[in-house]
């Protein structure tokens, strides 16, 4: 290997089978983010597919990815860029730049999407077809304290959790692109999802010890989206670090990591006391649920500076296999079979 032009490989993925993209954050300021692709049917995995296919790098801190309109959209946080890839070849087909520090993209249509940011109080409105920034949704935060994260849409409203040194969920009217309501939750809501009943769920991480913003016990809260109120709050113990909240594809089950992996029905009145998958000394980093068979995929970042591992468990928590991915596998994205 020599410093210079990078070889381009030709991939041709069979789109008739579903596939799993693993978004590997890499390390902040290393520029070693990467994309892995896993075929659940064969167990085959290809790492660094973006760089291998395109002949250049994905960038610094890949935060999230989503499938829309037949393309995989990858948000690369500290490179300030969003790439759209052909999921069969992993070749770049579109690119949107001009962001401060993008975190997630949510599509409202082929010509409109929202992009959340950290260190920027604005939610960007983009035209993903023209690859242009068309506007902003202003918030009352400023650049130092601005943080908007995950987006969930119910009807014409998009809900956004404000995470870093924040404690709010925003409700945005997509007709007017304005914030219509805000809901105060616990300190630092790190995730936001929707269940089968149209309820919102958030995990608040509680901040950290010594934070001037406050430090409290982490919570899992259910929010009635219609009335925009907290219906139920489950409080974790001090020292617990719940994260990676997600649902089964039908929204009937909630999953999260808190040392082990927990699973809970959306209608539960009390949280589970035992994990479905014990940590066994493994430091779980992120998880996703197969939309096809409910298999649980959990990533392990190990020491955060080496290639991570993804463990595949059955829906009942039996280990089915493992595969190696990139550094800090922090997010997943499923591609449905065509």
């Amino acid at each position: 290997m020599k410093y210079g032009p990078r070889e381009e490989e030709a991939f041709s993925i069979d789109l008739s089978r579903s596939g799993l993209f693993v978004i590997n954050e890499g390390n902040y300021m290393y520029g070693n983010a990467s994309l892995s692709y896993y075929d659940p049917a064969t167990g085959a995995v290809e790492n660094e597919v973006f760089a291998r296919s395109n002949g250049f790098l994905l960038g610094d801190v890949a935060q999230s990815a989503v499938m829309y309109d037949g393309l995989l959209w990858v948000v690369v946080n500290n490179s300030g860029v969003i790439f759209a890839l052909d999921p069969a070849t992993f070749r770049e087909v579109r690119r949107i730049t001009g962001f401060t520090s993008p975190r997630y993209i949510h599509f409202l249509g082929p010509h409109k999407a929202y992009v959340t940011q950290i260190w920027d109080p604005r939610i960007y409105i983009v035209d993903p077809t023209a690859c242009t920034i068309t506007g902003y949704i202003e918030t009352d935060m400023d650049f130092e304290t601005g943080s908007t994260e995950m987006m969930v849409q119910i009807g014409k409203y998009v809900y956004i959790n404000c995470w870093s040194y924040q404690n709010r969920i925003l409700m945005i009217d997509t007709d007017t692109d304005t914030i219509t309501k805000e809901l105060v939750v616990g300190i630092q809501p790190s995730a936001l999802i929707k269940d089968c009943n149209g309820k919102l769920w958030t995990i608040t991480d509680g901040g950290y010890e010594g934070s001037p913003y406050g430090h409290e016990r982490a919570t899992l809260a259910r929010i009635d989206a219609d009335n925009f109120v907290i219906e139920k709050t489950f409080t974790f113990d001090y020292g617990d670090t719940p994260r990676a909240l997600t649902t089964s594809s039908d929204g009937r089950w909630l999953y999260w990591i808190n040392d082990g992996v927990y699973k809970m029905p959306a209608e539960a009145q009390i949280p589970p006391s035992e994990p479905i998958i014990a940590s066994g000394g493994t430091i779980y980093y992120s998880l996703t649920i197969s939309p096809e068979n409910g298999d649980i995929y959990v990533s392990d970042a190990i020491d955060y500076t080496q290639s991570g591992v993804v463990m595949r468990y059955s829906a009942s928590g039996i280990l089915l296999g493992t595969f190696n991915v990139g550094v800090n596998p922090g997010n997943f994205c499923w591609r449905a079979a065509q």
Partner: protein, 693 residues
């Protein structure tokens, strides 16, 4: 600013040339301006002072320090030693590390005062101009314990030194280089029988906007219908990399009598530097401010007293650093919005005494006591003051801590026979309310022949966590353990010379270190980094060095120095979990091999110097992943040349220098995805007018 600077240096050149006249007799500018100097007879036995028994010490030649006046100590060390210099870009942070250790394992002293940041533990060598350094020495491994604790890799001693002179002396260097770089250096010295005054200025301005082929991005081309027609790797510009540095050094030396000398040294650094963006960053540099401002003042007041059978040296010092990092972006209307406004403020007060007591002709007792009182205030970013606060109600996140540190040393050095030297010492350190274990060190050397010496040492080693390690918010780990372990080394040193014909010095040393609780900062799933102890690291290998001179003919001479190091540094800690592949692997960003060489050919008043340095691959992942195509920092070789010509004109010495850096235009990275410049040029004129005494 650049224009004013240009006018200033042109005025300076004219004034210097017109004021230089009648000269002293023994200076090259009044006679033969040759670079060719006599070669002296030497051997190991002549270089074996009692205070350095068994020490692994490398002294950098003064010509290495003066070769390119604009170079920082990072550049000097890269080409004149085998220690690893990690550069984050041209004119950016540069750290050094010995023997397979980390940057914070290198202790750095300036005129006896430790100048490592109490927050970070390391020193930025890009901020130390070689023009301000008269003597530089490297103490490898446990040899550093004779000066300070904490140097698990070693220590670098930087010193200014008085020149014995009568009257006024002046030296000025002006430089212009690629990427909009302007350098100005001025040294004014004045001496009487007892007093010596030196004032030095060093200023650098650089746009530092070099271009490079960016293999980490691609640009696509499209036809009028919007269909792709091609793609290419763009020529990118180093963004946010500008440099504005000003250094001032004031030295005062007073010889009270033959037994007492006083000195005062004051060094100011004012620096405003951009922090270059990664090559994978798609944000427009013009829309962002990404810069670091530093104001540092270092001062040392010293007293040297020589008695009949002892030498007493006492110092007191103060170090102040204010460092601001600002990351802001244009809101689109020309106003900049702050995103990160990091501030750190350090005040360190220092006092130190050292006694060398000669109990007999071949027996010396050495005692040192050094104390540092640090006051640190660090804020990293602003956040809302509480969960209930209004958006305007913000508070800074950071810490404010004070720590008192003391280091005591007691040693005995004894030339047991004319061939055998023995030294034993103990060091003890107090930091905050904690006490280090006793740190013993034993050194032995043995003169095998008059030209060949064997040296060996064994010691404990110990380094306590920095203030950021313990208190940084978020991430500081108050439960962090100090690093400790044992080091051993043994080697041979050879020296020989034939007067005015040739000289040769060579050394090779094997070393072996075991370090427990090695501190590494790692990311967490909380979104910030935190330090933790890696249980055990085994760093071992070989260092070697050779230097020599050869008289080729009456007016011809060749000289050179070369260094090579093999430095495996292996993680033997406990695995993080069952999947951990890092055990038994090389520590991240520590090359296994490094080498450097500087060779010069001298003919009368001409000198041609070739500089070369090489680093093997540095792994960026703890599992040393070689299959990756995105995380490798490949080996690189740098080749520079410098051509000099001296003129003696009416008592004024003038030297012209042309430096060509990276002559083969190698594309490379020192740190992952940090662009480095290709071939570049620097031209210098150095003027040394000599005044009537």
């Amino acid at each position: 600013m650049t224009r004013c600077f240009s006018i200033f240096i042109v005025t300076l050149v004219l004034s210097l040339v017109t004021t230089g006249w009648a000269a002293a007799q023994n200076d090259w500018w009044n006679g033969d301006p040759t670079f060719v100097t006599p070669i002296e007879e030497s051997a190991v036995v002549a270089e074996r002072p009692l205070s350095e028994i068994g020490q692994q010490k490398t002294e950098l030649d003064s010509t290495a320090l003066a070769l390119i006046v604009s170079q920082s100590m990072a550049d000097v060390l890269a080409y004149n030693s085998a220690i690893f210099v990690k550069q984050y870009g041209r004119g950016s942070l540069a750290t050094v590390s010995f023997r397979g250790t980390a940057a914070s394992h290198t202790q750095v002293t300036w005129n006896g005062m430790k100048i490592n940041s109490p927050m970070l533990g390391m020193t930025d060598f890009s901020m130390i101009p070689s023009y301000f350094t008269d003597r530089a020495a490297l103490l490898h491994g446990s040899s550093s314990l004779s000066v300070t604790g904490g140097g698990l890799g070693g220590a670098i001693l930087l010193e200014t030194a008085p020149e014995v002179r009568e009257g006024l002396e002046l030296n000025a260097v002006l430089g212009a280089g690629s990427f909009g770089t302007w350098d100005g250096f001025l040294k004014i010295g004045y001496g009487t029988g007892r007093w010596q005054f030196n004032t030095r200025f060093a200023a650098t301005l650089s746009r530092n906007d070099f271009t490079y082929r960016n293999y980490n991005k691609k640009v696509y081309t499209f036809d009028e219908a919007g269909l792709p027609t091609g793609k290419y790797y763009p020529i990118d510009t180093n963004r946010c990399g500008s440099i504005r540095d000003l250094h001032l050094l004031q030295e005062v030396y007073y010889k009270v009598d033959n037994n007492n000398k006083l000195n005062f040294n004051f060094w100011y650094t004012g620096s405003l530097r951009g922090v270059p963006m990664l090559s994978v960053d798609y944000r427009e540099g013009t829309s962002y401010t990404n810069q670091q401002a530093e104001n540092t003042m270092r001062s040392v007041l010293g007293w040297d007293h020589t008695g009949d059978s002892y030498i007493l040296n006492s110092k007191a010092g103060w170090l102040h650093t204010r460092q601001n990092y600002d990351f802001a972006r244009d809101k689109g209307n020309g106003t900049m919005a702050a995103m990160v406004a990091s501030r750190s403020n350090i005040n360190t007060f220092h006092a130190q005494s050292e006694l060398k007591l000669f109990l007999a002709e071949h027996l010396m007792l050495n005692a040192q006591l050094a104390a540092y009182q640090h006051f640190v205030k660090s804020t990293d970013r602003n956040a809302l003051s509480s969960a209930d606060a209004s958006p305007a109600d913000k508070i800074t996140i950071g810490y404010e801590e004070a720590r008192f540190e003391t280091s005591a040393y007691m040693g005995v050095k004894w030339n047991a026979t004319s061939r055998l030297g023995l030294a034993a010492a103990l060091r003890e350190e107090l930091y905050g309310n904690s006490l280090s274990p006793l740190i013993p060190v034993i050194n032995v050397d043995y003169l095998i022949t008059n030209k060949l010496t064997a040296k060996a040492s064994a010691s404990r080693n110990f380094r306590y966590p920095t203030l950021n390690d313990l208190y940084f918010l978020p991430g500081g780990n108050p439960d962090l353990l100090p690093e400790s372990g044992y080091s051993y080394d043994a080697g041979l040193a050879f020296a020989d010379a034939r007067a005015d014909a040739w000289s040769l010095k060579a050394s090779a040393t094997w070393f072996d270190s075991y370090i427990d609780n090695w501190i590494v900062w790692i990311p967490t799933f909380k979104g910030y980094w935190t330090p933790r102890n890696v249980r055990k690291v085994h760093a071992y290998g070989i260092e070697s060095r050779a230097e020599g001179k050869l008289r080729l003919a009456d007016d011809w001479m060749a000289e050179g120095v070369g260094s090579f190091a093999w430095t495996p540094s292996i993680n033997h800690g406990d695995p993080a979990d069952w999947a951990d592949e890092a055990i038994g692997k090389q520590i991240v960003y520590v090359p296994k091999f490094s080498g450097s060489a500087v060779a010069s050919l001298l003919y009368k008043s001409y000198k041609l110097t070739y500089k070369w340095c090489w680093y093997s691959e540095r792994y960026t992942t703890s599992d040393n992943d070689m299959a990756t195509r995105i995380g490798r920092v490949l080996p690189y070789i740098m080749n520079d040349i410098v051509l000099e010509k001296r003129f003696a004109a009416g008592g004024t010495g003038i030297t012209l220098k042309l430096a060509v850096n990276n002559i083969f235009n190698e594309e490379y990275e020192s740190v992952l995805n940090r662009p480095m410049p290709g071939r570049n040029f620097e031209l210098f004129i150095e003027i040394t007018p000599h005044f009537i005494k």
